[in-house]
């Protein structure tokens, strides 16, 4: 398999109020198709910014990014939207479900606009949500369940890449492991390239590679000779 993403000299500067924040100070990275990557690093080290740029939620200030052979940088909003719609799945720390839609409907929200989606029920099962919970509203689901709905929503379109920002950040260890198992299943069964941002060093053990961030730069890349299973992780 070749590189699914090529990232070349990416920088990102934010202006928040009067403050100028250098979120990324030059990042180069190649991501292979089907890879499970864990991105580690302290808050503000640039992990989320990079993932947002990879997922076309945000544009870099400088540098280039390629999806396969296609350059993403410099494309207009419509093209980026199309890219997200067809190729990228997101999982957020706080699930970001639409509160007025049930679990199944939250997934259907995406399958409706994707070109080759799976059935919402199938995606929910793959993400490990009990069938009896499929027609519950977010407010009726636990945090772990909500996160599994979010994963189902992200994978239902059969994306090439799944981007997860602190997927277990708001969950306890036991629930978090079940979410990680769902991600692992998706990665191995669908071959979806998966990027997981976390503060939790132990999660790095289940990755193919662990990317260490610090101060807007990649400070270390470690390849795991042997991957551990999610069930072996706890925190």
């Amino acid at each position: 398999m070749g590189a699914i993403f090529r990232i070349e000299g990416i920088t990102k500067v934010y202006r928040t109020g009067d403050v100028e924040v250098h979120a990324l100070r030059g990042v180069d990275l190649k991501i292979e198709a089907g890879e499970f990557l864990v991105l580690l690093g302290p808050s503000g080290s640039g992990k989320s910014t990079l993932v947002n740029i990879v997922g076309a939620l945000d544009a870099p200030t400088e540098g280039r990014i390629y999806f396969g052979d296609d350059e993403l940088t410099g494309r207009n909003d419509a093209a980026l939207t199309r890219f997200r719609r067809n190729h990228v799945g997101f999982v957020f720390q706080f699930y970001n479900l639409v509160p007025s839609l049930t679990a199944r409907e939250n997934v259907a929200l995406v399958t409706e606009i994707a070109p080759n989606p799976m059935e919402p029920g199938e995606a929910l099962e793959l993400a490990g949500l009990d069938v009896s919970r499929h027609d519950h509203f977010p407010a009726q689901l636990s945090g772990g369940e909500q996160q599994r709905v979010a994963i189902a929503r992200a994978i239902a379109k059969r994306p090439e890449v799944l981007l997860c920002d602190e997927p277990t950040g708001a969950l306890d260890s036991k629930t978090g492991v079940r979410v990680l198992e769902a991600l692992d299943t998706v990665n191995s069964e669908l071959g979806t390239t998966t990027l997981v941002i976390t503060h939790n060093v132990s999660i790095g053990g289940m990755a193919h590679r662990v990317i260490q961030f610090g101060d807007g730069r990649v400070t270390d890349i470690r390849t795991n000779a042997k991957r551990i299973r999610p069930s072996e992780i706890s925190w």
């Binding site: 945000d58 067809n86 990228v88 007025s100 409907e105 606009i113 379109k157």
Partner: protein, 785 residues
């Protein structure tokens, strides 16, 4: 159903309280426009249809005694479709339930068959039998006020002879939709009747066999009315013709015109303003409501929905709210419009009502509100979709507050108060708009309610400052000044001042107006001229005094020469300078010194009647004497005239403005409730955090509500100012030949408008206060920001 649509439906349901209150705002704006226009249009259409179906004449003329062959000449005038002669005269009525004498207009109906023109709409009974000279038909208003029915009789003095007239029919007539006694400003069904008798009976009573005293004609389409009028005047000149006139000189029609014009005025000024205000508020509210959806918008974009799809989703959301409002507004507006039109058609004595509204009104109302709602949504959605999704999904960056003037205050006020002030200063535009929204609510209330003040002032000025006599006596024909002594000798008369009214056509260039010149002594005190503030204005020795309305209509100013021609059959002409202009709210009065007027008339010192002051204890005796006195054809009591004016005003203006005031209250509540609710949503997290930090519910509520309270208080004076402006526009809209509404807004009206808005604010505050109590504190700790 697509997921986004499902979300839409559920969101509408979740926000139902707000959705409903915004929809109500829309509904109030739409309903006002629809009901205003519907009422006016329906009545206008009904009048047209009624005039047409009853063949209401186009031209009217009176003469002393015209031979029947003159009718043939009139029928042959080019442009005349048909003409009908008749006998019209007056009678004094002697009614059992009235101590004072009444008067009647007698109108003949043909001996065989129905009238050709101005057909009667029979409410009951039939036309009189020509062989029974005492059979009459009376107008419905008169019959109703006196409780008269078929078979009842009443006394009348016809040409000096007392008769008992028996009612065989009760009818409505297009000619007397309003029946005004000669010289009266207001219709009065109690004192004044229309009595239809057979031609034969009237001819016998007034010695007019083979002759007529009135002719009416209907014109062919395209006929030149002015030409026909000239020709009729020529024909009748030698028979004591009093000058023919079109519908614009027909009293009932003029009055109805004025009423419709006032109705149009009230429906032309306020409703568009209501609609505009509602649209503005909906725009404001929805844009803030959608700005709250920032994170959801970001999420949808992250999931791959295009900006357009997201925008369309929210557009549908606001369109749904707008549609709910428009539907309620259409329903309520049509229903209220129909009810109001029905009520008015009863006031106007229309035999039926044709309810009609142009679809364009619905279209206009719907388009305006939908556009305003869409723009509000578009503004907000655009603000969010422009952001990259990663930014949109984050809560907005903390706003940049400045240590401006609040810095100095900080030492003196609590942190909570400083928060309030900084919040206002940070979003001055939002504060201004919220304030403006409430100010507009105040202003529509002021504009709806000012009419009450204005009418009070109008009545006070007209009847307590200017026309202060207790009654006016009208003589059957001008009599030498000595007749005044006869009047003074009647029982109960404490003072009498002579008057003489001459019907004239007053002209300035091509502008003409039929009015009556009111001649009186310069030292008269019972009925006097006053300025706007009710201060006495002396009657100039020479020249004409015009009411401001008439001066404006004829474009005359002090010093200009007005041309007059009498309409008493003699057609005396003169050019008279305008020497003063006075304020008058009722009618189009023209005044002149009686001596000067008599000099112009050239028939010596005559009087036509008198204004009198009465000893109330001797009223009955006086009325009994007047009933027996053939020289007196009318007595009008000021107290009754005042009531009649008040009633007319109630019907014309207060009914409509009352409805507007209710709708304005709804708007006031809608604005404030939504401001408070959105404020709570926008700052819910911040406020809940304060609760977590240990602030009490009361303290947190204070932060939220004090800002609204401050803005409400600021809104009041601004609202008064805008309200005064709207009231001025309405006063102009109400202006007609018959009445003008002075622009008087009492403090009590400002106070009432303010109280209603404050009550709405208090109610909203209480609802929001309850919600503050239910803020989810755990949620705040659990989620980010």
């Amino acid at each position: 159903m697509r997921m986004l649509d499902r979300k839409l439906v559920r969101e509408l349901w979740r926000l139902r309280a707000q959705v409903f209150s915004i929809a109500l705002l829309v509904a109030a704006g739409v309903a006002t426009l629809v009901l205003g226009v519907a009422t006016y249009q329906s009545l206008f259409e009904t009048r047209e249809a009624y005039y047409d179906r009853s063949r209401f004449a186009d031209v009217f003329a009176q003469a002393s005694r015209a031979p029947e062959h003159a009718l043939g000449a009139i029928e042959r005038i080019p442009g005349v479709a048909m003409a009908e002669s008749r006998i019209v005269d007056r009678a004094i009525l002697d009614l059992e339930d009235m101590i004072e004498p009444g008067s009647a207009q007698l109108v003949s109906v043909p001996d065989h068959g129905e009238p050709l023109l101005n057909t009667l709409y029979m409410r009951a009974g039939a036309l009189p039998d020509p062989t029974q000279p005492d059979q009459v038909v009376v107008n419905e208003g008169f019959a109703r006020v006196h409780g008269l029915d078929l078979g009842d009789s009443f006394g009348a003095i016809l040409n000096g002879q007392r008769r008992d007239l028996r009612i065989v029919g009760i009818a409505l007539s297009p000619e007397f939709i309003y029946s005004l006694a000669p010289g009266a400003l207001m219709p009065d069904d109690r004192r004044f009747a229309i009595v239809w008798m057979s031609r034969r009976a009237l001819a016998a009573a007034f010695d007019l066999e083979g002759a007529f005293s009135s002719v009416t004609a209907r014109l062919l389409p395209g006929a030149l009315e002015a030409d026909v009028i000239d020709r009729i005047d020529d024909i009748l000149a030698s028979y004591g013709g009093l000058g023919a006139h079109g519908r614009d000189g027909q009293q009932s029609n003029v009055f109805l015109d004025a009423e419709l014009q006032q109705l149009q005025g009230s429906s032309a000024v306020l409703p568009p303003i209501f609609l505009f205000i509602a649209a503005f508020l909906v725009n404001l509210t929805l844009s803030r409501l959608i700005a709250l959806e920032r994170e959801q918008i970001g999420l949808m974009k992250a999931l791959g929905y295009s900006s357009l799809a997201v925008a369309w989703h929210y557009l549908k959301f606001v369109l749904a709210i707008g549609a709910i409002g428009v539907i309620i507004g259409f329903g309520a507006g049509s229903w209220l419009g129909r009810e109001l039109a029905n009520l008015y058609s009863q006031y106007f004595h229309f035999p039926y009502l044709i309810f009609r509204v142009d679809t364009s009104v619905y279209l206009l109302a719907a388009t305006a509100t939908m556009a305003a709602a869409s723009l509000g949504a578009a503004k907000a959605v655009w603000g969010v979709v422009r952001l990259s999704p990663s930014v949109a999904m984050q809560p907005a960056a903390p706003p940049r507050y400045r240590r401006g003037f609040a810095t100095g205050l900080a030492s003196r006020f609590s942190q909570a108060t400083v928060m309030i002030i900084r919040n206002i200063v940070r979003w001055p535009l939002r504060a201004v708009f919220t304030m403006l929204g409430m100010a507009l609510a105040v202003s529509v209330l002021v504009a709806s309610m000012f009419a009450y003040d204005a009418i009070d002032h109008m009545i006070d000025l007209t009847y307590y400052k200017a026309e202060r006599q207790d009654a006016s006596i009208v003589l059957n024909l001008p009599r030498p000044e000595g007749a005044l002594f006869d009047i003074e000798r009647l029982p109960g008369i404490m003072a009498a001042e002579p008057v003489r009214a001459i019907p004239v056509e007053l002209a300035n260039g091509h502008l003409t107006r039929r009015v009556a010149i009111d001649g009186r002594h310069r030292d008269a005190t019972l009925s006097q001229l006053v300025d706007e503030d009710g201060r006495w204005v002396p009657l100039p020795e020479t020249g004409l005094v015009l009411s401001d309305w008439l001066a404006r209509t004829l474009e005359l100013q002090v010093g200009d020469l007005a041309r007059m021609q009498t309409l008493d059959g003699r057609a005396i002409t003169a050019e008279i300078p305008v020497t003063a202009i006075v304020r008058s709210y009722v009618g189009s009065a023209v005044y002149m010194d009686l001596g000067e007027l008599n000099r112009i008339m050239g028939d010596g010192p005559l009087i036509g009647g008198a204004n009198i002051r009465l000893d109330p204890t001797l009223e009955n005796e006086l009325f009994a004497r007047i009933k027996q006195s053939p020289a007196i054809v009318g007595v009008s009591l000021q107290s009754l005239a005042r009531e009649a004016l008040r009633e007319t005003m109630d019907e014309n203006i207060l009914l409509m403005t009352g409805v507007f005031a209710i709708l304005a209250s709804i708007i006031a509540f809608g604005v404030i409730y939504n401001s408070a609710r959105i404020q709570l949503s926008e700052r819910g997290r911040e406020l809940a955090s304060l609760r977590v930090l240990g602030f009490t519910k009361a303290e947190v509520s204070w932060i939220l509500l004090a800002e609204l309270a401050l803005l409400t208080l600021l809104a009041l004076p601004v609202g008064w100012l805008i309200g005064f402006g709207l009231a001025a526009a309405m006063a102009i809209g109400f202006e007609t030949e018959l009445f003008r509404i002075p622009l008087i807004v009492e403090r009590s009206t400002y106070a009432m408008a303010s109280l209603i808005v404050l009550a709405a604010a208090l109610g909203s505050a209480l609802i929001v206060r309850r919600r503050v109590g239910r803020l989810d504190l755990i949620e705040v700790l659990k989620t980010r920001e």
